[in-house]
Amino acid sequence: MSPTISCSSVYKIFGGNAHKLLEENDGRVDAAKFQESGCIVGVNDASFDVNKGEMLVVMGLSGSGKSTLLRCISRLTEATAGKILIDGEDICLMNNKQLIELRREKMGMVFQNFALLPHKTVLENIAFPLQVKGVTTDNSIQKALEMVELVGLKGRENYFPRELSGGQQQRVGIARSLAVEPDIWFLDEPFSALDPLIRKEMQDEFLRLQSVLNKTIMFVTHDFDEALRLADRIAIMKDGIIEQLDKPDNIVLNPATDYVKRFTEDVPREKVLKIESIMDGVDPNASSDFAISKSEIIETVAEKILNSKEIIKVTDENNNIVGSINPSKVIKVLFGG
C-alpha cells in the first residue's frame, strides 16, 4: 500500500532569490550561507512517508521549521522545491480548485491558538467547513451537534469562543477539523497554549479520539514528552533539517546526533522503552507461571517482573513465546548502571 503522505526532498526557503540560490547550489543548502544572501531556510531537504493510520509527530524547538513543514504539506505555504504526494497525487501541482476540493474532502487542521471565528458560536464554528462546502444548514448543524458530543462540549453549543476556556476552545477547534471526516489530520502545536494539567487531559482525550477514528496524523509539537506519549514515529527537526526520524524507543535508545541526545538524556527509559527492546532470546529455564507481552512499556510491568525474581517468558500478540526477560535487566533500566 502506498503511503498517505509522501515527501521527497522538500525545501522551503524564504527570500526573493531562493529558487536561484537553490539551483546554483544543486540542492545542498547551507543555512549560514543562504542567510548571508538574505534567505531564511525553513525546511531543508525533508524526505519521509506517513502511512495510513499512522501518527507522525514532528518535534523541534521554535524556529526549527516544524510548523513550516506542516504548512508545506497542507500547502498553506508553497514549498520552494520537492515533491509532496497525498494519496499519490502531487499537491504542489494542483490548481486552486483541486486544492480547495482536497481540503474540503481529505484534510482537517487544528491550530495552536485555536483560530476560531470570533463572530460564530461553537456550533457555527464546527459547521463552518461543511457550510463552505455547500452542505445544507440542517445537515451541517446535525453533523456539528454530533461533533460537539464527540469532543464533550454538549450544552455549550451556543457559546461564543470568547466565553470558553482555552481547553474548551481547542475542543471546538478539534471538532471543526473533524467535521468533514477528513482522512488526514494536521495538528499544529494544538496543546501548547494550554495549562499543563489541561494539556495532559487533552492528550488523553486526543488518544481516545484517535483510537476510535484512526486517522493519518501529522502532529507538530515542541514538547518532547508529548511526542513520546503520542507518537507512532517521531521526526526531530533542527534548523529545517530532520535530524532523526524513528520510533520513540529507538530514538531514546539510539539518538542519531548529539542534538537528539540532549533531548533523550533526561527521559526516564522505563517510561518509553518496551519489553521487546531489552528482552533476551527464548530461555528454556524461564518460569512458566505467567508471561508478559513484548509490547508492554517497562514501567507498567516492572513491579510484576521484579516481584517474581525469576526469568519470565515474553510473548507476542498471538501468545507465541518469543523471548525472555531477566529481572536484572529491568533493574538496570530503572536504576542505571
Partner: protein, 690 residues
C-alpha cells in the same frame, strides 16, 4: 578633530541636535535678508503650478474625450466632454438620493416632480408627500436607541430629538441628517472596497498610503474650489467634499482591521476549504467587524464635522444656518445651531458604537411579531401622530406645530446667550483686551516676526537636519524635497505664517495635554473620566470651537490660536493617558519597592516610558492645529488658509491655487509626521515596547 569627539557626536543624538541648533542660529543671523539672495528666499520657479492644474481641470471638463450627446431641447446631437457628462451624472444621482431621503422625512413634491410632468403636479395640489411629524421622529429615535442599548440610549435619542424639534431646528437638522445618511453609506462602500483591495494587494496598499496621508492632512477647504469647478454648487457638492474627507479613515480602519486578524484564522478558513470569496465574506470581514464598524463611526463623525464646510459649496442644513449666523455675528443663533450639530453627532456616535458592539444572538427564538416589535411600534407611532397632527390642522390656522416647528417659532435661548456674551464682553472687556493685546504684541507678534525673518537655508537646515538625525539620509531627503516644493512657490512667507501659528498651537496644546494627562491619567478612574471627556470633545465638529473664541477675542490670531489649542489638546491628552497606561505594572512595582516619591515616579518611570506615545500624540496635535489654523481663515487670518479660502471666489485659477496650497499644508504636516514617527518608533524599540 580628535577621534573620541567624532565618536561622541556619532553616538549621542542630543549632541547632534545641539550642533544642529547652533548651526541653525548661526545661519539665521548670518544670512543677509535681501530678495536677490537665494539663501534668504528661493525664486518662485513653480509659480505656474496652480494655473497648470487649473488648465488640466478645464481641459478635462470641456475638451477631452468628446461624446455625441442627444440634446432633447434643441433636438440635435451636441459634442460634450465625457468627463463632464460623468460629473453631471454623479451630481444628479447624489442630489436625487439626498432629496429623496429629505422629502421622505420633511415632505415635499420634488421627488414626485421627477416622475410626473410639472403641469400635472401644479393642477393637483394634494400631490405632495406629507412630512413626518417631529413627534413621531422623536419616538423613532427613542425606539432605535432603546433597541441598540437599552433605556439610557433611548432617552438620549428621544430627548435629543425633542430638543431639536422644540427649539425649531427640526428642518435644518433633518436636512443635515439626510446628508449624513446618504454620504455615510457611500463612504462605507468606497472605504471598504479600497481597504479590501489594499489588504489583498500589497502594491495597492503601498500606493494608497501616501495618497491617504495627503488626503487626511489636507485642509478641507482646499477641496472646495475644485469641487465647485467639477460638480457645481449644491448639496451633492457638499456630499462629494465630505466623501473625499471621510473615506480615507474608513480605508485605514478596514486595512487595519483585516491586518489584525491572526494568520491562523486565515489558515483555518483556507483549511476549511474556503474559496477566495468565501474567505473574504465569511472569514475576513466578519472577523474584522469591530474595526470596520469603528470606521463607520469615524465616517459619521467626519460627515458632521464637515457640515459647515460643506455649506460653502451649497449644502443646506445646520451648517448653513451656523455659517450665516456667524457671518452676521449672531453668537446665540450660531451657538444653537452648533449645539444641534453636537447633539446629532453625540447621538449618532453613541448609536453606531452601540451597534458595533452589539452581540448578535443567533438562537433567539422569537415570533414574527416579537422580532419586529420595534418596527410595529414605530409604525403605529407614525400613524397615531400623523392623525393627531392632521386633526390639529383645524386647530392651528397657519402653522401646524405638530408637524414641524419652524425656526422662527421655536423656543430659543439665543438672546440669553447673546446677552451673556455681552455681559462677559462688558465686564471683562478690559481684561480680555489687555490679555489679547499682550499676547499679540509680546508673544505672537515677535514670534511671527522671527518666523518671517528666517532665511530659507536655516529652515531647511533645521528640518532636514532633524530628519537626518532621526531617520537617516533618506528621511532627510524626503523632508527636504517636500519643503523645497513649497519654498519654490510664491507662497513661502504665507507658509511660514501658517507654521508659526501651528507651532504655537502645538506647543501649548502639547503642554496642556501632557499636564492634564499626567494629573488625571495616573489613576484608573481619573483616566477613564479624562478619556470620556476627550470622546465628548472629539464629537464636536471643528467649527464649533471657533464660535466662543471669536466673541471673546474678536477676529484676531488669538481667537484662532485658542480654538486650535483647545481642539488639539484632545489628541495630546488622549495619547498621554495611553502612554501612561502603557507603563508595565511590574515597572511600577519595581519603582514602589525602590521607594520612589510620586514626582520621582513621574520623571523617572512614567515620562520616559510614555514619551514615545506622547510624541505620537503631539504628532496628531500638528494635524489638528493645522486644520484649525486653516479653518481660521474663515474669520480672517493671513496665512495659507486665507488664500485657500479666498480662492473660493476666484473662478479663473481658484481650483489650482486651492489644491496647490492644500498640498503645501499637507506637506508641512507630513514632514513633521515623518520625523516624529521615525523617532517615536525608534524610541519604542529601544525601550522594548511594542
Amino acid at each position: 578633530m580628535d577621534k573620541t569627539y567624532l565618536e561622541t557626536i556619532r553616538n549621542s543624538k542630543p549632541t547632534q541636535f545641539g550642533i544642529l541648533l547652533v548651526l541653525f542660529f548661526a545661519l539665521y543671523h548670518l544670512v543677509p535678508h535681501n530678495d536677490g539672495n537665494y539663501l534668504w528666499r528661493l525664486p518662485s520657479l513653480l509659480k505656474g503650478i496652480p494655473l497648470a492644474i487649473n488648465n488640466v481641470i478645464f481641459s478635462a471638463l470641456y475638451d477631452w474625450f468628446p461624446l455625441k450627446v442627444w440634446d432633447p431641447i434643441f433636438e440635435m446631437y451636441e459634442e460634450k466632454a465625457a468627463f463632464r457628462e460623468f460629473t453631471k451624472a454623479v451630481s444628479q444621482g447624489l442630489l436625487f438620493l439626498i432629496t429623496f431621503v429629505r422629502e421622505l422625512l420633511l415632505g415635499g413634491d420634488k421627488i414626485i416632480d421627477v416622475f410626473v410632468s410639472d403641469a400635472w403636479l401644479k393642477e393637483n395640489e394634494w400631490l405632495s408627500w406629507p412630512a413626518l411629524p417631529w413627534t413621531a421622529g422623536a419616538v423613532g429615535a427613542f425606539i432605535l436607541g432603546y433597541q441598540l442599548n437599552g433605556i439610557r440610549l433611548g432617552l438620549l435619542g428621544g430627548i435629543g430629538a425633542l430638543y431639536i424639534a422644540i427649539f425649531g431646528n427640526w428642518v435644518p437638522s433633518i436636512q443635515t441628517l439626510s446628508f449624513v445618511l446618504i454620504t455615510t453609506p457611500i463612504c462605507f462602500v468606497l472605504g471598504l472596497s479600497f481597504g479590501i483591495w489594499g489588504y489583498l494587494d500589497k502594491k495597492v496598499e503601498t500606493a494608497l498610503q501616501p495618497v491617504l496621508n495627503v488626503m487626511q492632512t489636507m485642509p478641507q477647504f482646499a477641496y472646495l474650489v475644485p469641487i465647485i469647478a467639477l460638480f457645481g454648487l449644491g448639496d451633492h457638492a457638499g456630499s462629494i467634499a465630505t466623501i473625499i474627507i471621510a473615506t480615507p479613515p474608513m480605508i485605514r480602519n478596514t486595512i487595519l482591521g483585516l491586518k489584525r486578524i491572526s494568520p491562523e484564522v486565515v489558515e483555518a478558513g483556507l483549511m476549511s476549504g474556503c474559496t477566495k470569496s468565501q474567505l473574504l465574506f465569511k472569514v475576513l470581514i466578519p472577523t474584522a467587524r469591530r474595526d470596520i464598524l469603528n470606521g463607520v463611526n469615524t465616517v459619521i463623525m467626519q460627515c458632521l464635522a464637515m457640515v459647515v464646510i460643506a455649506s460653502f459649496v451649497g449644502a443646506k442644513g445646520l451648517g448653513l444656518n451656523l455659517k450665516i449666523a456667524l457671518n452676521s455675528l449672531k453668537i446665540g443663533k450660531a451657538a444653537e445651531a452648533g449645539l444641534c450639530i453636537v447633539i446629532i453627532a453625540v447621538i449618532l456616535d453613541r448609536f453606531t458604537k452601540a451597534w458595533a458592539n452589539k452581540p448578535v444572538d443567533y438562537f433567539e427564538n422569537l415570533t414574527l411579531f416579537e422580532r419586529h416589535r420595534s418596527l410595529v411600534i414605530f409604525g403605529a407611532a407614525i400613524l397615531v401622530f400623523s392623525i393627531i397632527a392632521f386633526i390639529a390642522n383645524g386647530y392651528f390656522d397657519k402653522i401646524n406645530y405638530l408637524y414641524i416647528i419652524p425656526i422662527e417659532k421655536g423656543l430659543t435661548i439665543a438672546h440669553y446667550i447673546d446677552s451673556g456674551v455681552d455681559w462677559v464682553w462688558d465686564t471683562f472687556f478690559y481684561t480680555l483686551n489687555t490679555f489679547n493685546k499682550f499676547l499679540l504684541t509680546q508673544v505672537l507678534g515677535p514670534m511671527k516676526k522671527a518666523y518671517l525673518g528666517m532665511p530659507v537655508i536655516s529652515t531647511f537646515t533645521l528640518a532636514m537636519g532633524a530628519a537626518y538625525i532621526v531617520g537617516g539620509l533618506r528621511t532627510g531627503l524626503i523632508v527636504g524635497g517636500m519643503l523645497l516644493f513649497i519654498a519654490l512657490s510664491e507662497y513661502w512667507d504665507r507658509a511660514l505664517i501658517t507654521m508659526y501659528m501651528a507651532t504655537f498651537a502645538v506647543l501649548m496644546a502639547s503642554l496642556n495635554g501632557i499636564v492634564l494627562g499626567s494629573i488625571f491619567g495616573r489613576s484608573e478612574r481619573g483616566s477613564q473620566i479624562l478619556l470620556s471627556v476627550c470622546d465628548f470633545f472629539e464629537t464636536f465638529p471643528s467649527f464649533v470651537y471657533l464660535i466662543p473664541v471669536i466673541f471673546l477675542f474678536n477676529i484676531t490670531d488669538t481667537s484662532v490660536l485658542i480654538a486650535a489649542i483647545i481642539y488639539a489638546t484632545v489628541p495630546a491628552t488622549r495619547y498621554t493617558v495611553w502612554g501612561l497606561k502603557s507603563v508595565p505594572l511590574s515597572l511600577h512595582e519595581a519603582g514602589t519597592m525602590s521607594g520612589v516619591s510620586p514626582f520621582q515616579r513621574w520623571t523617572n518611570i512614567e515620562i520616559p516610558i510614555a514619551f514615545p506615545t506622547v510624541m505620537l500624540g503631539v504628532n496628531q496635535t500638528v494635524v489638528f492645529s493645522l486644520q484649525m489654523v486653516i479653518l481660521g481663515a474663515l474669520i480672517g487670518t493671513e496665512d495659507l488658509g486665507q488664500i485657500i479660502f479666498g480662492a473660493l471666489s476666484r473662478t479663473k485659477d481658484g481650483a489650482g491655487v486651492a489644491l496647490t496650497l492644500g498640498i503645501f499644508v499637507s506637506l508641512i504636516a507630513i514632514s513633521v509626521d515623518v520625523i516624529v514617527r521615525n523617532w517615536a518608533e525608534d524610541r519604542k524599540k529601544a525601550l522594548g515596547l511594542d
